[in-house]
Assembly symmetry: C2
Homo-oligomer: 393 residues x 2
């Protein structure tokens, strides 16, 4: 056996994540490792919590990154808030609502599912009916921005309905954070988790979470022990909680935390409203190009995420061949469909650092060339001009 150092190709990442990482973040991550209990590191942790509060638009005390990918942010919310026998209303309009159901059940709870068509927002009326029919439900769980379909749901109104029925909310904001308006305090969301590799343009591996005081009270007054040692917030807060004294829980992923800190500094420099506007602007340009070619969006306008564009595969086209050509000829990654959407859609991400004019024009040009080369039934040669017209204003 003699395996050499790994040198990845330079790709343009326009799938559902990871998205292009800002080079400033890659550089930050390679700074010298220090101890996870070093006073200087502890100072950085305090800054990190403050920066995350800005990103989530919250003043929640419990705001911190879980030391593992977004899926553990989800699991952290469920294992801490759900006790055996608890009833949870779960909205499903894509893959991640299904994963929430798994989490409820593995935590010993019962999931009452509210199903919506994939590619549509969660229907608030159906949710209200489910909450009325299940007065013993304690939690409403839903996905703000469904990464598998590109649909955004009205988190503000859903949380309002939940409160009316005395339910806490668990909200997946993996793809919305920093890309679409998300106001944790204004909307009174309770347990919110996200990821780092989408609109924050950071590397994958961490999951920012924020808990309202109401949610935190539930965690600290549980009757049963949290089933996960690693994710038990009662223990994790000994390390990430306030005050100068930090107790060892696990060894934090130091360098990945440097990366997230830098990503959040960049977000603060841009201003979060400017980040939302930029995501919208680049989506408009991409949309103009996609529609000029004659391709169709999966999600109706008004329910569409600017940072994740689900496009139907034109008839007669082998979608995998197209993605493969984009990757091998252009070093460009776009996403395939997931779950029920597999083989039916592409997912074009415009997330964080990747949401820029260069990427939009490059992607449209490449997609146009590959599709027209395959004699796919699209209008070729018009996509890039349509997008340029949007940028020209």
């Amino acid at each position: 056996m003699s395996i050499q150092s790994f040198h990845p190709p330079v790709r343009t990442l326009m799938g559902p994540g990871p998205s292009d990482v800002n080079p400033r973040i890659l550089e930050a991550m390679s700074r010298p490792t220090i101890g996870h209990l070093d006073p200087v590191f502890v100072g950085m942790m305090e800054e990190m919590k403050e920066l995350l509060r800005y990103a989530f638009q919250t003043s929640n005390q419990l705001t911190m990154p879980v030391s593992a990918p977004g899926s553990t942010g989800m699991e952290t919310c469920f294992v801490n808030l759900v006790e055996p026998g608890d009833k949870v209303v779960v909205c499903q309009n894509g893959v991640f609502g299904g994963r929430m159901k798994e989490n409820v059940e593995r935590s010993g709870g019962t999931a009452v599912m509210v199903q919506d068509n994939w590619g549509r927002a969660v229907d608030v009326n159906k949710v209200e009916e489910a909450l009325k029919a299940n007065p013993d439900a304690r939690i409403l769980a839903f996905v703000h921005a469904e990464t598998s379909t590109g649909a955004i749901s009205d988190a503000r109104v859903l949380a309002e309905v939940a409160r009316k029925h005395d339910c806490l909310t668990i909200v997946d904001t993996v793809t919305s954070l920093a890309g679409s308006p998300l106001m944790v305090d204004d909307w009174q969301l309770d347990a919110v988790y996200s990821g780092t590799q989408k609109c924050l343009s950071c590397v994958p591996g961490l999951s920012p979470v924020t808990f309202s005081q109401k949610a935190l009270d539930v965690v600290t007054s549980r009757k049963t022990t949290v089933q996960s040692w690693f994710m038990d917030l009662n223990l994790v807060l000994g390390y990430w909680g306030g005050g100068g004294k930090r107790a060892y829980h696990h060894t934090a992923p130091i360098n990945t935390l440097y990366a997230l800190h830098e990503a959040l500094v960049i977000l603060q420099e841009e201003g979060i409203e400017n980040s939302w506007t930029r995501h919208k602007k680049n989506h408009d340009a991409l949309k103009a190009g996609i529609e000029a070619m004659g391709l169709k969006f999966v999600v109706p306008e008004g329910e569409r995420l600017p940072q994740l564009n689900a496009v139907s595969i034109p008839s007669g086209v082998d979608e995998a061949v197209v993605r493969s050509a984009l990757l091998s000829e252009y070093n460009l990654e776009i996403g395939a469909g997931l779950g029920a959407m597999a083989g039916k859609i592409w997912r074009i991400g415009l997330m964080g650092y990747a949401s820029n004019q260069t990427n939009v024009l490059f992607c449209l040009g490449a997609l146009d060339a590959v599709l027209s080369g395959m004699k796919a039934p699209i209008s070729s040669g018009v996509a890039v001009d349509a997008a340029r017209a949007v940028y020209a204003g």
Copy 2:
């Protein structure tokens, strides 16, 4: 709020981990991010498994890094192998045996504890008695190298005793991997987990695990669902398992995996036996210096880990003041005691890249100077020379 980019100081890390990271690994980590389903990345994953098999000295099919810190490697072993009602014999001779107990109980099992003095190896006779007294036990769990005390236990013999009593073994090798002889196949260990930030000199954030076929069979034939979605190996293997086709489970921490790949390439270049020898050599030099000063080791010779040196605090010395002086004047981190050892010992790590002559001489000189400056009751001015004599052979 205006928070600036974080620029850590350059420390020498000689605590219980993280240890000094090889600059090659920091550079590898900052290479361009690619997709977690990119064919080039999948090729890297295959190499990673092969390199980990070398590090663990195993041909186990299921050998991969869990996408989170060492604590999740531990939890992955327990939640996958323990079913509600199962009895597990757990050896405790330090902090991490106690964490194993937590994991057994949170998985719904019953832990039968075998207690040994902290700072000593696990007593094989006591283990044998416990297994005889509990013929219904299904698993024996123990820590190969106790990071909290610096004691090494005889994993080969403990596994032999476990087999005699029809038990699988769960073995913590967080601090032993690459630092002390560890032969997963020769010793027939069943479920083994480790970390990346100790003798592999990689950044923290991943937990390599390896499972024997016997252990894997238990996972795939469970009667109950694994309580953790993130750690359920039945799901994770869809992504990390063999074959060309990878199913999305979670987004892998791409850049941290680059770092681990590079760390394992470096280990392969050095040769694992050479790595073991180097750790022993630098320990001998450190030991000569420590003993020349009149300081005492906690662990008796023969049960002592070369990579983690637990030293008793001399009487009349405030241990925290010493660590603080080393950090502020020398940028040198050594570790405090943990749990029952808090305030009683220092832990001096010589792990991976940090296990070298420069570090040994630097640490001895600094410790000698700080202690003699505090008029601590040691023989000053002799430590470095004693260590140099060992290197001079």
